[in-house]
């Protein structure tokens, strides 16, 4: 099956810093989503982005489907950005959303 690897596995930032999280996948996909899991365990939808670029406030994401990767940018990070960020992908001819390994982000004041 498809492999979904995220990097870095852990990231520690000071408030105000910028960061880039990467998601690599091993097969063609027709769906890619980014999620933020907050410290209480809730999964929050950030982006549905099978290709192209989207922005939402301080967050933006880019997926280059032909090269099988996606990037999540966080600018001017805040302590509330702390948690685990997951990318998840769905390949053609399946309804299964497969999760990546995750990046644990800690933002300190």
């Amino acid at each position: 099956g498809i492999q979904v690897e995220q990097s870095p596995p852990d990231l520690i930032l000071q408030e105000g810093a910028n960061s880039t999280l990467r998601c690599n996948f091993s097969d063609s996909v027709n769906n890619l989503q980014w999620f933020h899991q907050n410290p209480w365990g809730q999964l929050i939808n950030l982006f549905y982005i099978p290709s192209g670029t989207k922005q939402n406030g301080r967050l933006s994401a880019t997926t280059v489907a032909t090269e099988r990767y996606s990037l999540l940018y966080i600018s001017s990070s805040q302590t509330t950005d702390s948690g685990v960020y997951f990318c998840a992908v769905r390949t053609y001819n399946t309804d299964k959303l497969i999760f990546g390994t995750g990046t644990r982000l800690q933002v300190f004041p």
Binding site: F35, L43, A88, L97
Partner: protein
């Protein structure tokens, strides 16, 4: 977007017992799923809940251990049977297939935190 609720939100159970988790979506969806997240790990798909028929299980998960029901387009249950401490995890309900522009986006419930002693 879809709003998904789960009950209970958390529970502490004794080994050998069973727990049924309920999932309710606020609108009709085509697909519902159940995931497990073990401590410190990513999410793993347990099964696809099929309306009116048996669920489709992923490798490593069996119906006797995780029976699933989906009687209609907005409701599903997952039972964790004959529990052991290794079943301690967060169990998440998920859905996709909303009408309109969001039909390919998958949404998740708040999860059920299960601790088995």
């Amino acid at each position: 977007s879809a709003v998904i609720s789960q009950k209970p939100s958390r529970d502490i159970c004794q080994r050998g017992t069973s727990l049924t988790i309920q999932c309710q979506v606020d609108s009709q969806v085509t697909m519902m799923f159940w995931y497990r997240q073990q401590p410190g790990q990513s999410l793993t798909l347990i099964a696809t809940a099929n309306q009116g028929s048996e669920a489709t299980y992923e490798s490593g998960f069996v119906i006797d251990k995780f029976p699933i029901s989906r009687p209609n387009l907005t409701f599903s249950t997952l039972t964790v049977s004959n529990m052991s401490p290794e079943d301690s995890s967060i169990y998440l309900c998920s859905a996709k297939g909303l009408a309109g522009e969001h039909q390919e986006t998958q949404y998740f419930g708040p999860g059920t935190r299960l601790l088995v002693l």
